[in-house]
């Protein structure tokens, strides 16, 4: 009923749009389809982005641009002021460089694991299971939790008196450790928890991608006597590539932006071993008593620049794959 109504509305919309198409041609329609998104995008993403860039060229504690003084590249200079680029401690902004190196490690490990886990989960959920919607919900569930709650649950699990230790003590008789105050384990915890929290998200994307692979190709492959392992590597994976690229790009970006749940979980500790770049920017920009918005902006621009380069590389790779994937 509502479907019919929507259909009628869309039919009405079509009348002026046909006229538009007549006037502008198919190309013009491409512009039309892009316009709403690009307009909102420009106002609410691009403009702030540019303002942010201007921010990074100013100093002072004032919050709004018009009250800030122009300092040119000083903020960048300050960030880049290091005696030895391999040792963050020799930098003036040691916190930034520590955060950068922590983040780099985090990204590499977390993204890899995340994709593997998401892929396996998606493959499994793609099988004909009884109660498939239930299982999908199970793996998606953590995505529904706010990062604060996620961080909190896991802090309760991992802290010295947490469930994990109680469990280990009862089952293996292991001495309790505080998982969140050991360097390695707290780093691992931030990775594990962020995977826990987001894997459902990527699983869902991959699941949709898996379902889009035509069934007859699997049948053809089966007739070709393909074992399941090869089926995965030679059929599933290449055909999943467009979606895998979405996942890769998004996972990478979200990993670089790791903040909320890790912050609640470890607060960046022990010491600074799980302090990630966004926490640094956040503290610089908002929270810290040592606040310096210009520096924060400069740091974010630098981070963005690195990411853009990474993405360019990825897009180049994906372009190749798209060519490959065309039917």
């Amino acid at each position: 009923m509502t479907g019919a109504a929507i259909g009628r509305v869309m039919g009405l919309i079509d009348i002026p749009l046909r006229a538009l198409q007549k006037a502008t041609g198919t190309r013009g329609m491409a512009a039309f389809f892009l316009a709403p998104n690009m307009a909102i995008f420009a106002v609410f993403v691009l403009v702030p982005f540019v303002i942010n860039f201007m921010y990074s060229m100013t100093g002072g504690a004032a919050i709004f641009l018009d009250q800030r003084s122009y300092v040119g590249l000083d903020q960048y200079r300050q960030i880049m002021d290091c005696k030895d680029y391999l040792d963050p401690n020799t930098c003036v902004q040691d916190g930034f460089w520590i955060a950068v190196s922590n983040t780099a490690w985090f990204v590499v490990i977390q993204v890899t694991l995340m994709i593997v886990v998401a892929l396996i989960t998606a493959l499994i959920l793609n099988r004909e299971l009884i109660g498939r919607s239930f299982w999908r919900a199970v793996f998606f569930f953590p995505v529904l939790l706010s990062p604060v709650v996620t961080g909190l649950i896991w802090r309760w699990i991992l802290q010295r008196n947490g469930i994990l230790n109680a469990f280990l003590l009862n089952v293996f008789g292991t001495e309790p450790t505080n998982w969140l105050t050991e360097r390695a384990s707290s780093f691992a915890a931030t990775i594990g928890v962020s995977i826990w929290a987001h894997v459902g998200f990527y699983t869902l994307i991959l699941l949709a991608g898996l379902q889009a692979i035509p069934k007859d190709l699997y049948e053809a492959a089966e007739m070709d006597g393909t074992r399941r392992g090869r089926m995965f590597w030679r059929i599933t994976l290449p055909l999943l590539m467009p979606n895998l690229i979405v996942v890769l790009v998004l996972a990478l970006i979200k990993a670089v932006q790791i903040f909320d749940e890790a912050f609640v979980l470890t607060g960046g500790g022990p010491g600074t071993s799980t302090m990630y770049i966004v926490q640094y920017i956040y503290e610089m920009g908002f929270a810290s008593e040592l606040r310096n918005p210009g520096l924060a902006a400069a740091a974010s621009i630098l981070m963005g620049a690195v990411l853009v380069v990474l993405t360019l590389l990825q897009m180049a790779a994906s372009r190749r794959n798209e060519k490959k994937g065309e039917r």
Partner: protein, 350 residues
């Protein structure tokens, strides 16, 4: 029981167990334990008293100490299991504690006071659900108003997101035009910047537009999500161009192609994006917090936030309200995930 058995022994194709069947179930139950376990525990914890929440090590179920009304005492007294000096155990009610000694009475015989070392007594506890964690916030918390705001923001944002993102994705996946790659790059590049970073500039933009303290100020900045465009575009790439050719031959306008051909065939990806959008907008916190300063406009998440103070966070309310606010999204998920089913785009082709 037989049902469970067939459920457990169900496997792919033939009659033999393949290692992957076993791996599947190991993975699923492992997932159930690791993923769902903490979530279930969260649910149970939301029924705990603040004291029980602070307790180490945490209990699985919400327990409270049991009390008993004893004659001669105004208030109910807490009961303990006490190991008496002769090694026997007894259930006694505690009258008061002085230092390391507790004065206790037998509830059946309230006359005599028994002195017990506090090491020798353990409280008698029972499972009890602290429902006031749920009811209290409803009383001094404008729940319905916040709920309405949340629902409004979420539905509006999701509808607009789906509409404009899919349109953009359609243009970026099925048309050739100059600048296409530039736009794509721009979109992905801006994905990189965490909201926290551009929050102040964004705030000034929104304030210039007069959208502060306006739900549209929450909705609009989020709807042009690069994620959505990117996600949909990649999915749309898998729709065969031949179907679009066919539609053009059928005199379909570009709008019809978008609406009648591409949208239905993108249903799985749209469902994914819809789920994401609902989850994101529903759980959005930082941005609404800064745009909305009047409580009549608060969304649930922002409203919930009043329980985080400077020195103290009232976790019992936060957990309970988290559980409550999660219910609608779970329902939305359960409804929408149906659409993520076997894509059919290729079955129209030879």
């Amino acid at each position: 029981m037989a049902h469970v058995l067939t459920f457990l022994t169900r496997r792919r194709g033939g009659s033999r167990w393949h290692w992957s069947d076993i791996a599947t179930w190991v993975w699923l139950f492992g997932g159930l334990f690791i993923i769902f376990g903490p979530a279930v525990w969260l649910g149970l914890s939301s029924f705990k008293t603040p004291a029980a929440l602070a307790e180490f090590p945490p209990a699985l179920l919400p327990y409270i100490s049991q009390t008993v009304a004893v004659e001669g005492y105004d208030k109910p007294l807490p009961i303990f299991t006490v190991t008496l000096p002769d090694g026997k155990k007894a259930e006694l009610a505690e009258v008061r504690r002085i230092g390391i000694m507790a004065q206790m009475v037998d509830p059946k015989n309230p006359g005599t006071i028994i002195k017990v070392n506090i090491k020798d007594r353990t409280p008698v506890q029972k499972v009890s659900f602290e429902t006031s964690n749920y009811t209290q916030p409803f009383l001094h918390f404008d729940f319905l108003r916040y709920l309405w705001n949340s629902v409004f923001v979420t539905t509006m944002a999701t509808i607009i997101t789906l509409a404009i993102n899919s349109m953009a994705a359609f243009a970026l996946s099925k048309y050739q035009f100059t600048g296409k790659n530039l736009i794509l790059l721009l979109i992905v590049a801006t994905l990189m910047v965490p909201l926290g970073v551009i929050m102040v500039p964004l705030y000034s933009v929104v304030s210039k537009l007069g959208l502060l303290d306006n739900l549209w100020g929450v909705i609009l900045p989020t709807v042009a999500t690069p994620t959505g465009v990117f996600l949909l575009r990649q999915y749309m790439l898998t729709i065969p161009d031949e179907l679009i050719d066919a539609a053009r031959m059928d005199k379909a306008s570009e709008w019809q192609i978008y609406w009648r051909i591409v949208m239905p065939l993108s249903a799985p990806a749209l469902a994914v994006l819809a789920i994401f959008s609902v989850v994101w907008r529903w759980n959005d916190f930082l941005w609404p917090l800064i745009v909305l300063s009047r409580s009549s406009l608060y969304t649930l998440q922002v409203g919930l936030n009043v329980y985080s103070g400077q020195l103290n966070v009232q976790w019992h309310y936060i957990l309970a309200m988290t559980v409550v606010t999660m219910i609608p999204v779970v329902l939305v998920f359960v409804f929408l995930q149906r659409f993520i089913t076997r894509g059919i785009a290729a079955t129209g082709l030879k």
